[in-house]
Amino acid sequence: MTEPRKIRLATVSLAGCFGCHMSLLDIDDHLFELAGKVAFDRSPLTDIKRCGPCDIGLIEGGVCNAENVHVLRAFRANCHTLVALGACAVNGGLPAQRNHLDLGRCLTAVFQSRPGMDTGAVPDDPELPLPLDQVHPIHEVVHVDYFLPGCPPSGEAIWAFVSDLLAGRTPRVAHPLLHFD
């Protein structure tokens, strides 16, 4: 008897704090069950650098720079199901608090006006991704299949959500697991 094919899962944090990834680790004992059912593709857990063909992609964080756009598009191109995981991916979250400020003034404030930075300049190394003028939730850049809000969503909520996906059920995270803070 052949073993059922393992589901391929990729995860990434864009403009996020890795809090949602920490919450993923909070599923505790279920990690063993998860490891039995999925093979991890690109993820902080594997250190694979580029996303390959996958069943599920979990995206933490919003889109704040050009690199985020490339990574997000690669996930979209490779993942059958793309999930916005947590407040920043769903709504832009904390990083989006800069959206009402002019980007130029932000850069000046950070790289030139701070004490001790008076001779500094805004970094222009082509290695560095350029920031977008505003931080966007991921669904404004690519099509997103599912949204799991929360800052972060609890381990329990993530497990309920991922279990549904793995079992082929439409994810349904209801009160009290569903919350936006």
Partner: protein
């Protein structure tokens, strides 16, 4: 005492320092002062013993009340799709260019501001505008130039040529109501002779249903109000005709004001009401003087006041309240809130207005046309009325016809007339679609032109907008969705956010950034609005889009780019500021706006 204080004192005096007429006080102050400065709000709140936030909340709710200075000449172009089809946008651009203005901004000298407003009810004689609240119709480039000159010369509005303000009735087809001569008092005399019970029995026999759109049986409403506990009862005439494309109530209030007010008195006779209120939409404020004159005439004739028709205890009088630019106030419970001087937020029902209405009193709210029809029933009897029209829709219906047709105007038909017949009569050719019932109504495609105007087939409050083959039905729906997003009262999240999201998604399609995923998004939003909104505004907001996607889907698909998903914003443009700050222009400093197949 400053002038502002004098204005406030005068307005408060006129309305007897009553907090429940706060909206009327603010409307008057807006007219006197031109806008509502912060200090004025504070003074009104103090004088009425209301929290300041409550007064500012009311002032902030209504489009025609302004918490920031507006031009001394405030020009508002009616922005309904029918006005746009007649060239309103180009005329607005012409006015703005000539006056060196941009829409929505006040000129530097504070002289003039130009903006758009929701349908002003002049669809048969557009493009139309409001100047300081006064309606001007039949605009064309020459008239717009003249208006520029009058504004520049700072000519007071009452010195402008009188023919600017002439509004036509454009009655094109007459039937039972518009075709009969009416002697004021006739209907009332007949109803009084029948006695209160006998009169209500005639109403029951007539099967008259509300002409405001919902079609509730009028006699049932009256009976419920009559039987509700409470000695003080109220009859309200809903003259807040805000549905885009509707203007038949304007014509009734102009031509048949006696019938409308007599209808209110007939309702008062049946339910035992003492107080009558006409809620007149702000756009029709020019009708106030003539309506007041009719009221005065009727008081002199003994048809209003104490002991009407010589019946001891039949005391009833009517006063007029002005709206201030809020479509949602056409919903009866929002209208009652507005009459009580509050924000026009629809109430949770039950309790219904017939038991808990104006100031908690049992209240009948009827549409202008419904009330006018009551006179016919009193004059000719309920069974005669019930014998006309169709089985479930007795009597006639006034249609407001506008758009692509040779003879726009008001048409009175017996219920049951086919849409094709109406189109033939108004001289419409190569018709692509008809929007029946206004923005919240039904988009009717040619294969349905055999359908009938009636509650059991195509119900309508009266709007009938015709679109010929040259029009883009997607743009028609987009105009309506913008209207709903603007008019959402903001009380419930599904409507406040849902209408804005729907508007943004349609705008995305209009800009050429649409994709198949967006159509799915639109359908999800339609469902959300329909199922979860607090009132009819939210639940009918997606109607034009639902009908459009079903009957005119290619008009939507034409706007799609052949991709899975396209962002609504310019990704590469979003890096421009960072490029400027870093001086970079290397390939990594750019983003392809198209999707990359990055593998």
């Amino acid at each position: 005492m400053t002038t502002t204080d004098e204005h406030v004192e005068a307005a408060l005096q006129r309305y007897g320092h009553r907090a429940d007429v706060l909206l009327q006080i603010l409307v008057e102050l807006q007219a006197r002062v031109g806008w509502l400065p912060s200090a004025l709000i504070t003074r009104v709140a103090h004088a009425l013993g209301l929290p300041r936030a409550r007064v500012e909340g009311v002032a902030g709710f209504y489009s025609f009340l302004h918490l920031a200075p507006v031009g001394r000449y405030r020009v508002l172009f009616s922005d309904n799709i029918v006005d746009q089809m007649l060239g309103s946008r180009a005329l607005m651009a012409q006015l703005c260019d000539t006056l060196w203005l941009s829409p929505g901004r006040v000129s530097e000298d504070g002289l003039v501001s130009v903006d758009t407003t929701s349908c002003t009810g002049m669809g048969d004689q557009g493009p139309a505008m409001l100047v300081n609240g006064q309606a001007i119709a039949r605009l064309d480039p020459a008239r717009v130039n003249e208006i520029c000159e009058l504004i520049r010369a700072q000519r007071p509005l009452d010195a402008w040529p009188a023919h600017y303000f002439a509004i036509d009735d454009n009655i094109r087809r007459r039937d039972a109501l518009l075709g009969s001569a009416f002697v004021p008092g006739d209907a009332l005399r007949a109803a009084i002779a029948l006695g209160r019970e006998g009169w209500l029995a005639q109403m029951q026999a007539s099967n008259l249903r509300g002409r405001g759109g919902a079609g509730f049986t009028t006699a049932v409403k009256w009976q419920a109000c009559r039987d509700a506990p409470g000695a003080q009862k109220v009859v309200v005439c809903n003259a807040d005709e805000g549905e885009p494309g509707t203007f038949k109530d304007r014509v009734l209030l102009t031509r048949c004001a006696h019938q409308v007010i007599e209808g209110m008195t007939l309702a008062a006779w049946a339910v035992g009401a003492q107080q009558g209120l006409i809620y007149l939409r702000g756009e029709y404020c020019y009708l106030r003087a003539s309506l007041e004159a009719v009221l005065a005439q009727r008081r002199r004739a003994g048809w209003l006041g104490a002991g009407i028709g010589g019946v001891a205890g039949f005391d009833f009088d009517v006063e007029i309240h002005l709206g201030a630019g809020a479509y949602v106030c056409g919903e009866e419970s929002a209208l009652l809130e507005s009459l009580e001087g509050k924000r026009g937020t629809p109430r949770i029902r039950p309790p219904f207005p017939v038991t808990h209405g104006y100031l908690g009193r049992p209240t009948v709210v009827n549409n202008v046309e419904t009330l006018a029809k009551c006179c016919l029933i009193a004059q000719h009897g309920g069974p005669a009325f019930a014998a006309t029209g169709t089985a479930q829709s007795a009597g006639t219906k006034l249609l407001s016809i506008s758009g692509d047709c040779a003879r726009p105007g008001v048409y009175e038909y017996p219920f049951g007339v086919s849409i094709r017949q109406v189109l033939d009569d108004c001289g419409a050719r190569e018709v692509q679609a008809v929007q029946v019932g206004g923005a919240s109504g039904v988009t009717v495609a040619p294969y349905e032109f055999g359908r009938k105007i009636a509650f059991e087939d195509v119900p309508t409050a009266g709007a009938f907008m015709v679109f010929d083959a040259t029009r883009d039905i997607f743009e028609v729906a987009r105009n309506f969705v913008h209207f709903f997003a603007h008019e959402s009262c903001g009380f419930c999240t599904p409507c406040r956010v849902g209408t804005a999201l729907l508007r943004n998604t349609l705008d995305k399609l209009a800009k050429g950034n649409g994709s198949a995923a967006d159509l799915t998004e639109i359908e999800d939003l339609d469902r959300l609005l329909k199922q979860t909104s607090h009132c009819g505004l939210g639940s009918s907001a997606p109607n034009p889009v639902i009908d459009g996607l079903q009957k005119f889907r290619p008009a939507y698909e034409r706007h799609l780019r052949n991709r899975d998903f396209v962002p609504a914003f310019d990704l590469d443009g979003a890096l421009a500021r960072a490029r400027q700050m870093t001086g970079r222009d290397d390939p990594g400093a750019h983003l392809d706006n198209a999707t990359e197949a990055e593998r």
